[in-house]
């Protein structure tokens, strides 16, 4: 191929690499399984994916600052349990219960943020600790048993509107708000700045501490929303729900172009990244791949995607 066109093609691929990966994953699946491209199946994918995507959006904020939030799965479980518990047992009413539960999530986020921003504890360590602590709190609160008996107001959030799952609307709403915060607000610009170069940010008059504090609250709130949707969907709060959510969220963000070194990432990327994983999981289910094997395939897939991204980047740099 002509060098110029090849270059142009490569840079087009690079700019939309996560979309390209999504196509590369979807194509063989749709060829191998006739059930994949049916409306019903796609809606199932959308439902499962939107919930994880919300957590992935929150995760993207922390990744951009060069941090990470490992506590999202536990926070999701805690939020779901609190909301379900308060709604069914305290007589608090469903929506107030949800609000209290989300505030609790924000509190965990603030705790993470404080440890990381003021305490200067590495994000990995701080959120690993709160991952254990929040899971523990959930188990204490639920006494290790599911909480069921949710009312219509609660389960509504997992129903559908003319066939389209409500969580998908929630995702769209969260995505728009997150997009505006990340790409249009001062705060979002500072998030990129702090991730790009913390010292430069400080000398430009930004307070990196406040920014870091903020992103962990955002991440926890997103995780909390995911937890609420998971609860609504199962019609009950499961004490062990959300396990492994952190991995899915991190993988999605990175597949969507977020850098583990900080300074890069986007809301749309996080969503596309989640869909890559969602489509892959769905495809493997349709093809009746045993779930243990699926784990291995997903892991490999993740590594290949990151490598591909890296190769494209360095290829472009050279030319």
């Amino acid at each position: 191929m002509n060098k110029k066109t090849l270059q142009r093609f490569l840079s087009l691929v690079r700019a939309n690499s996560s979309l390209v990966i999504l196509l590369l994953v979807a194509l063989p699946i749709s060829l191998l399984s006739p059930d994949f491209l049916t409306g019903n199946n796609l809606l199932t994918v959308a439902l499962q994916t939107s919930m994880i995507a919300i957590a992935a959006i929150g995760m993207t904020f922390t990744l951009i600052t060069g941090g990470v939030d490992l506590s999202v799965g536990s926070v999701a479980a805690l939020t779901g349990a609190l909301a379900a518990g308060l709604a069914t047992k305290s007589g608090l009413g469903t929506y107030p219960a949800i609000l209290v539960a989300l505030s609790a999530a924000a509190l965990v986020g603030a705790f993470n943020g404080a440890l990381i921003a003021w305490g200067r504890i590495p994000p990995f360590v701080a959120t690993l600790a709160s991952m254990a602590a929040a899971r523990g709190l959930t188990l204490v609160y639920t006494e290790g048993r599911p909480i069921s008996g949710l009312d219509k107001l609660f389960t509504f959030w997992s129903s559908d509107f003319h066939g389209i799952p409500i969580p998908l609307f929630v995702l769209i709403f969260v995505a728009i708000v997150a997009y505006i915060i990340l790409h249009r607000s001062i705060f979002g610009n500072y998030v990129f700045a702090v991730g790009g170069n913390e010292e430069t940010s400080r000398l430009a008059g930004i307070s990196p501490i406040k920014i870091k504090f903020g992103v962990y609250i955002i991440s926890a709130l997103c995780a909390g929303l995911t937890g609420l949707l998971l609860t609504a969907r199962l019609w009950s709060a499961q004490p062990n729900s959300g396990t492994g959510l952190e991995l899915d969220a991190i993988a999605s963000s990175v597949l969507g172009g977020a850098s583990l070194m900080g300074g890069a990432g986007s809301v749309t990327g996080a969503i596309i990244g989640t869909f890559i994983i969602g489509v892959l999981t769905n495809g493997l289910n349709l093809l009746e791949v045993p779930s243990y094997n699926q784990q291995v395939i997903k892991g490999m897939m993740f590594i290949i995607a990151v490598l591909l991204d890296y190769l494209l980047k360095s290829r472009l740099k050279k030319s």
Partner: protein, 512 residues
């Protein structure tokens, strides 16, 4: 075996080199040759393509077309490693040493001598070999010294030692003296002359005209990616070179605008911080440009940093506009109307992987926003006008700042402070790496800002610059303010003497 008819006195020939980046033609058809054992200075405005051309020679970039001959044979330089094998070494604008490692480790990085086992590094041999080079160059630090403990000048020497250790025949230095004091530069040039005696070809890029004229054998001038001339230094004058660079005549290098000096806006007494800043008192007045001179490491940057709240103040008092203040973070300093253009733009001034837009506007977000949302249009309009005013060369606002030429990067940092219009602006080496005409523009700008009532503190290692634009000059030595001169009293000699301690307590001594 091919035979060449080329003139064998050339060590190196570049023929019809072309290199373009998206949106920029950085090098256009450049043909340039260098002799055995000469010092060839490469000059040109910021963004003229000097670094790009040299990066092609050192394998960091690959030319779109063109040919390179070394000792008359065509060579293909496809990587920095290949360049090293061919005996071409480049010392970059931003030094590339590993700060946590020792001098010896850095010199032999990637080429560590091994013990007989073939696995373990022969540390003894490595240190001994490094010592030989250090001695040969007459350097005064230990081979076991850790890079981060060395001054910038010493680090530069380590880079040169590294180049020599690979038996380089061609050594390229990209703005080697921009971070050095005059004295350190002289030492560097002595070393370059020694290398020249050994038939090494040295190509060096610089914006400092005095220096180029005292030390180079020939001067090559680039403009807009083209080579506009190469002449023996003796045949040229500073004026003619500048004219070739900018394509027109420049009248004054250090224009001084006279301004009305107003009331005191900042007073500081007994400032102390860390081991570098021991005791300094000073004041700044509206409309006044104060030059802060001194050797590298004398505590000048530390003064800037404590006044800006970037480092904690251990003792002393700061009074801004009559109010005693505690400045605990840059955020607070900015609120008090203080701005700082930092010295190390890569580590402290820029977000290298982000766009020109974000870099130039980061301090403006609070000013140009409503309810926490950016007024993108206003910001863009402002940035465009700043780009025009400072003549920043960038294809568009989306360009990563890391892709701009060094001088243009510096201008982006300065742009950041313009719109905030602080009462007090501190500039630490503001024209480091900036070409003559842009330098004049920045000096003009400083004069203009001062005439509007801003108080300016400028740190500079370049005495002509200090003498040229300051209304008052302060001199530091070893963490203390040693002397103060008025514009009329100051001379290069007096400042040097105060800075090196030959003249105790000159002028009005500010320390009790």
């Amino acid at each position: 075996m091919r035979f060449k008819m080329t003139d064998q006195t050339y060590r190196l020939e570049l023929k019809n080199i072309v290199k373009s980046f998206p949106g920029v033609m950085a090098v256009r058809d450049v043909t340039l040759a260098a002799y055995f054992g000469e010092i060839l200075a490469l000059v040109g405005e910021n963004g003229a393509g000097k670094s790009t051309l040299m990066n092609i020679l050192s394998g960091a970039l690959i030319a779109d077309s063109g040919m390179i001959l070394l000792d008359g044979n065509e060579v293909r330089i496809t990587s920095p490693r290949r360049a090293q094998e061919l005996g071409i070494a480049m010392i970059h604008q931003e030094l590339a040493l590993i700060p946590q490692m020792s001098v010896a480790q850095n010199i032999f990085l990637g080429r560590e001598p091994l013990q007989v086992s073939g696995i373990l590094v022969d540390t003894k041999k490595m240190q001994a070999d490094a010592q030989v080079i250090i001695n040969q160059l007459g350097l005064d630090f230990a081979v076991s010294a850790i890079i981060s403990d060395l001054s910038i000048a010493q680090r530069q020497m380590v880079e040169i030692a590294k180049a020599i250790s690979i038996k380089s025949r061609v050594i390229i230095l990209d703005e080697p003296t921009s971070a050095l004091s005059e004295r350190e530069s002289v030492k560097l040039f002595e070393m370059m002359h020694t290398l020249r005696e050994q038939k090494v070809t040295l190509i060096y890029i610089s914006h400092r005209m005095e220096e180029i004229f005292s030390f180079s054998d020939r001067i090559a001038v680039m403009r807009d990616g083209q080579l506009v001339g190469v002449e023996p230094t003796g045949n040229l004058s500073i004026n003619s070179v500048v004219q070739m660079m900018v394509g027109r005549e420049l009248k004054e290098f250090f224009p001084k605008t006279e301004t009305e000096i107003g009331e005191i806006v900042l007073e500081a007494y007994g400032l102390r911080s860390g081991s570098r800043l021991k005791n300094a008192s000073l004041f700044l007045r509206r409309g006044e440009i104060v030059g802060l001179a001194g050797l590298v490491g004398s505590g000048r940057t530390e003064i800037a940093r404590v006044l800006f709240g970037a480092d904690p103040l251990e003792a002393g008092e700061i009074i801004v506009a009559g109010q005693k203040v505690k400045i605990q973070s840059p955020e607070e300093a900015i609120r008090l109307g203080i701005g700082l253009v930092t010295e190390d733009r890569k580590a402290q001034g820029l977000f290298l992987r982000q766009s020109v837009r974000s870099n130039a506007s980061i301090t403006l977000f609070t000013k140009f926003s409503r309810f926490g949302f950016l007024q993108v249009k206003k910001i863009d309009r402002w940035i465009r006008s700043a780009i025009n005013q400072l003549n920043i060369r960038t294809p568009n606002l989306e360009q990563h700042v890391g892709n701009l030429s060094g001088g243009n990067q510096q201008k982006v940092v300065i742009a950041r402070w313009l719109a905030l219009n602080p009462q007090i602006l501190i500039l630490d080496e503001p024209t480091r790496g900036i070409d003559v005409s842009a330098k004049a523009e920045i000096h003009n700008l400083m004069g203009e800002l001062a005439s509007k009532g801003m108080a300016i503190l400028m740190i500079s290692s370049e005495l002509p610059e200090i003498l040229g634009i300051s209304d008052r000059i302060l001199v530091m030595r070893e963490g203390r303010l040693m002397a103060e001169f008025s514009r009329l009293d100051a001379t290069q000699d007096k400042i040097m003497q105060a800075a090196t301690g030959q003249l105790e307590n000159a002028g009005i001594n500010l320390n009790e």
